[in-house]
Amino acid sequence: MLVDSILNHYPKEKDYVIEILLDVQKEKEDNFISQEEVKKIAYYLDTTESHVCSVLSFYTLLSTKPRGKNIIQVCKDVPCYVRDDFNLLKTVKDFLGVNFNETTTDRIFTLETTACIGCCDEAPVMRINDRVYKNLTKDKAIKILKEYRGNDY
């Protein structure tokens, strides 16, 4: 199983719980951590399920609900707001037809917002999975989304 093979890379020490959760989530197609996986992690680290859950629910980048294959995060902080003259979030919302924190019906995208990702010199920005797209314009943003969608059809 996926979880077991990831767990084997880590020492049985409680302080690795965040790294383990991040790793498990990253390897999964639907980008979240299930109750079953929480159980396994807790057992491996010799801690309680409630402890793993308490950590899991605290950190914004960890999810307990299934998400899409690609996670789109639009920066919602001031430097991007000040330089965003076309409303990036609305552009992405309209293109995908979902609200934020929702997943498209084809399960290809989940739309989220993110706190500043430190690319304010090239605002406005959005992040898709591990990649940051900078200096966005309306056309550029739509083009990028289309490419992602295209790759999956």
């Binding site: 965040i18 919602k76 001031v78 430097p79 706190a115």
Partner: protein, 491 residues
């Protein structure tokens, strides 16, 4: 054809800068340790391990006057001394790379552009306080910084600059990475410690301070990325030379991230004591699009605004506090005449109420209520009494919160209330319109709006001002989009 600059100083934004923390950024290949070594890298560490006692190291940092660059401004030498004094068989050094302030990207650039400078400084700090283990706590939102750090640690181990018996001195030091998973509060030192321990990143009561009881209960010294990036440079240039730069109480340089409506966006490093005017107009080349300067927001969600009248204040830790803002970690967002200060404050409160860890009531509920009050004002449902409530509540949250996040969360509101109260009052006195409205003296009677209105609620003769029936208007905005003279006002 554009003129080619033969040296950095020929570029307008450079002559007023002094690059210490950023000395290698952009000049060396950060993924190659040899390039760092060629620029005197690890020389300070070798010299210290061979020729200096831990006490000498602490004294030299004290003499340099270096203060924490993460925002607090606590003297670094004193922090090292306090941790060094504690008697314990285990101690830790932590590098705080959980840079989360909106508008700040100094630490990201240092980690991406010169990771070894941070590793070398951690080893020096470890020697000074008696720690053999260091952690870099870096947010996962910075994937490239993580990649560079991992590679740098691996190379330093291969060169035996980290590990056992470094330079044959008998001193051993190792560094590991720990990842943050999207919680701003983890930049607060006690919350950061909780996070490294694999707990929820919630703040803890101080005292005991981390220097006494930190990570797993052992004495711990936590320094910010930029602070550490200064360390080996201080030893290479000499503490006395370093202390010559800056103002009386703030020595050295500070890296600022210029963002917002300014022509030269990006990182700059200036001696302490440089004025904001020099930063905005000489280095930053003025406001984008030739608009008028309105304010600079420093210190992110914990700071405040600095207005035109204070542009000539020499920047250091104390002077910025005096004018109601703070140094913060170095984010500077430049706002122009068109920016709405109430909305900007709302953005910051949206951020802090979201990032509050929830442990103490003033921060958890107070910031939420502050946010809601601003929302109410912006939605034009507010009253002048709301402004008084806003001020009172902001001060209460400031006084009663557990950690720095809550204590500083109301700063953007209080500072904008102080300098831009008229904007708040305008919101408080506005009543809500639900329909679009045509300004009679601007309308040229072109009839375009009447033609596109889907509910036919716009009337008027050709070449005469048109009128929208507010009862019928569905506020679709079609008329607003076609008006060639911008005569239509939004509801």
């Amino acid at each position: 054809m554009a003129k080619v600059a033969k040296s950095l100083n020929e570029i307008k934004s450079f002559p007023k800068q002094t690059r210490i923390a950023l000395r290698n950024c952009g000049l060396i290949d950060p993924s190659n340790i040899d390039e760092y070594i060629a620029r005197d890298g690890y020389f300070a560490l070798g010299d210290i391990l061979k020729n200096k006692s831990p006490k000498d190291v602490v004294n030299e940092i004290k003499e340099s006057g270096l203060r924490g660059r993460g925002g607090g401004g606590f003297p670094t030498g004193l922090k090292w001394e306090l941790t060094a004094k504690e008697k314990s068989d285990r101690k830790y050094i932590i590098c705080n790379a959980d840079e989360g302030d909106p508008g700040a990207f100094m630490d990201r650039s240092i980690l991406e552009g010169d990771p070894h400078s941070v590793l070398e400084a951690m080893a020096i700090a470890g020697y000074a306080i008696g720690a053999n283990q260091g952690y870099v706590y870096v947010r996962i939102e910075y994937p490239r910084a993580i990649k560079r750090l991992k590679a740098a640690i691996k190379q330093a181990r291969e060169y035996e600059l980290l590990g056992e018996n470094i330079f044959g001195s008998g001193f051993s030091f190792n560094i590991d990475l720990r990842l943050g998973a999207g919680a701003f509060v983890c930049g607060e030192e006690t919350a950061l410690i909780a996070s490294i321990e694999g707990e929820r990143g919630m703040s803890r009561n101080k005292p005991p301070y981390p220097a006494q009881k930190g990570l797993w209960g052992y004495p711990t010294c936590i320094n910010n990325v930029e602070t550490l990036a200064n360390v080996s440079a201080i030893f290479n240039m000499g503490a006395k030379e370093f202390a010559k730069i800056g103002t009386e109480n703030s020595k050295g340089t500070k890296v600022f991230a210029l963002a917002g409506n300014i022509n030269n966006i990006g990182l700059i490093e200036v001696p302490m004591g440089t004025t904001l005017r020099e930063i905005v107009y000489d280095i930053g080349d003025g406001i984008d699009g030739g608009k008028a300067f309105k304010a600079v927001q420093t210190g992110g969600p914990s700071g405040g605004v600095i207005t035109e009248e204070h542009l000539d204040t020499p920047i250091d830790y104390e002077s910025l506090k005096e004018i109601g803002s703070m140094m913060g970690s170095g984010g500077m967002i430049i706002l122009d005449e068109d920016d709405d200060m109430v909305k900007i404050s709302k953005f910051y409160l949206d951020f802090t109420q979201d990032e509050s860890c929830g442990k103490c009531t003033p921060c958890r509920i107070g910031t939420k209520r502050l946010y809601e009050t601003l929302e109410k004002l912006i939605d034009m449902n507010g009253t002048p009494e709301d402004l008084e409530m806003l001020e009172y509540l902001a001060k209460s949250v400031q006084k009663t919160s557990l950690c720095g996040l809550g204590q500083s969360a109301p700063n953007p509101v209080l500072s904008t209330l102080k300098y831009f109260r008229d904007e708040y009052e305008a919101y408080a006195n506005r009543t809500k319109r639900t329909a679009y409205f045509i300004e009679e003296d601007v309308c040229i009677g072109c009839t375009k709006c009447a033609q596109v209105c889907p509910v036919d609620c716009i009337e008027g003769e050709v070449k005469k001002p048109h009128v929208i029936d507010p009862e019928e208007c569905i506020a679709c905005g079609a008329c607003y989009d076609v008006c060639p003279v911008d005569a239509i006002l939004k509801p």
